[in-house]
């Protein structure tokens, strides 16, 4: 098939994306220039009033810090757990490798809402962790593990782990086992070999996975909302609040675009930083 005819294969997907993504995004940008009247109804206009309101509000600043901090901690936590798993999957000769890989990405197959309720059962006041700790006499009163930042960070880390494992596996290309053998034959202990060879060579994979995990965390809504128990405020939950509870569409639109720009800025800076590192 010639290239000219080949491109028609893209048509269904292109139409679909246009209909459900590009068109509403345009709507989003349009709404950002509208205002909300005193009655709460949307006033169609072309002004920057809503944008100014959002940017001047200290709460936006708090939300931004919250989102960044939550995404950073969830990403680091998930990375610390995903990296060894991915390294194991990449390296193992076990005949169960395929099965283990499926188990590792299994959480992707379960609805986010169901997973959150799973975490409630584990981390709740009478959940698995607290009752075990209490029955061993480690603590007298239950630890507050849900409906706060701790719970959200744990839940979020778990939900992004499968994606990060996949990203790590995809990024491990350069990691040649012979290099580790060379390092050991030259007298480096397994630990030194990890620090001097394995870790430096997996930096590109780590960057890829961290980037993906961060973006996913920034846009996560269900986990902060449900595991946060109304006490955790981030950009994503606020956008949802404004759009549904307050039906303040202009405000929601401005916040959504604000988040988008924030992520794009982070993406560009991290790319520039990565390029600088490579030199």
């Amino acid at each position: 098939m010639s290239d000219a005819r080949l491109k028609w294969l893209l048509l269904p997907a292109a139409l679909f994306v246009l209909a459900i993504y590009a068109w509403p995004t345009l709507g989003l940008f349009r709404n950002a220039f509208n205002e909300t009247g005193p009655t709460g109804a949307m006033v169609e206009t072309w002004s920057l009033k809503t944008t100014a309101e959002v940017l001047e509000d200290n709460f936006t600043f708090d939300l931004t810090l919250n989102s960044l901090w939550l995404s950073l901690s969830a990403t680091l936590l998930a990375l610390a757990m995903s990296y060894p798993v991915a390294l194991f999957l990449f390296r193992t000769n076990s005949r169960f490798r395929g099965l283990l890989a499926v188990v590792a990405i299994m959480p992707m197959l379960i609805s986010g809402v169901v997973r959150v309720f799973g975490w409630l059962a584990i981390l709740g006041d009478r959940g698995l962790v607290n009752s075990l700790a209490q029955s061993f006499g480690l603590i007298s009163a239950p630890m507050k593990l849900v409906f706060n930042w701790t719970g959200v960070t744990i839940g979020l880390a778990e939900s992004i782990m499968p994606y990060m494992i996949l990203a790590l596996l995809a990024g491990f290309g350069q990691l040649d086992r012979t290099l580790e053998e060379a390092s050991r034959s030259l007298g480096a202990t397994p630990m030194r070999t990890f620090l001097r060879v394995t870790l430096p060579l997996s930096l590109p994979a780590l960057a890829l996975a961290a980037g993906l995990g961060f973006v996913l965390s920034m846009s996560a809504y269900i986990t902060p909302k449900l595991l946060g128990g109304g006490r955790v405020f981030v950009l994503a939950t606020e956008i949802f609040e404004q759009a549904t509870t307050n039906t303040n569409w202009p405000m929601a639109s401005v916040l959504a675009i604000y988040t988008l720009v924030l992520l794009l800025l982070l993406l560009v800076t991290s790319n520039l930083a990565a390029r600088g590192l490579k030199r």
């Binding site: 034959s185 007298g187 001097r196």
Partner: protein
Amino acid sequence: MSYLELSGLQKRYRDSVAVDDVSLSVEKGEAVALLGPSGCGKTTTLRMLAGLVDPDRGAIRLDGAEVTKLPAHKRNMGYVFQSYALFPHLSVARNVGFGLEERGVAKAEIARRVAEALAMVRLSGLDRRRPRELSGGQQQRVALARSLVIRPSVLLLDESLSNLDAKLRDTMRHEIRSIQRSLGITTLFVTHDQVEALTMCDRIAVMHRGGIAQIGSPEDIYERPATRFVAEFVGRANALPATHDAEGRVVLWGERLPVAAPASGEFDLFVRPQRIRILPISEAVAEGMVRVTGKVLRSVFVGDHVEVLVEGAAGQIQVELQSGTALPQEGAEVALVWQARDTLPFPRETA
């Protein structure tokens, strides 16, 4: 006791035996080749020596001390990998200095020894390059320098020349051999290339199906192969089906040969193509020579030699003549003559 002793080494993998009862003694300063086809267990043997594979059975002794269970990083063996395994994120100098840094050698000393090692492999001035900026031959030299700079007890080379083009391989062969000799470093060399084994080593261990088929000097291996496999694998040889006559003498192509052969059973006579001379059919030959006759099927000029294929009463014989000699006419009736002692009988392989 020898400097390096392998005794009864065995390694099994899930469903196959990779190395089976390999014993080998290597003297200090000696270069020994492990020669064999792929899958014969030569690389596994080398990896067991380096501590990269644990043997299931057997022992490795180095300079009188048992090292069988010693982890790789404590063995002080220089391993040059087939793929060179240079660290892509480190400069040439850091690659070469890697082992010294791990040994806690002082910085100035490292710089001095790295420069020395790079000079030895003729790479001075490239120390700041990254491995990917080097040619295959240069990478090979860096890998060699990296293994030598730690002053290893034994140098292990795993098919180290197989990724180079033919000409470079030739140069590196001589270079490695002369470095090995001048440092007097004990070396084990894994290869499937007989020329490499024959030219670079004091002794050759021919490996076959996980075991050692024959150990000996290059000359021994080539001139006096102990088994049919060795005769076939090292150098080229005609395998000529022969029979006994009523008096028990060996008969080939209808001619009685002055050759000793197994008393019974089917067997083949092995003759190297370059040991055979082609003479006019009328010419008489001396006592103790083998002489059979046939017709020249074709002659091929290959540059440094001429390959002649002669068809006789029961099969074909390949002859290799030095070029410069007259090319035998195709279709000509000729006599093939060789020394009786160049004829090696081996029982027919029963598959």
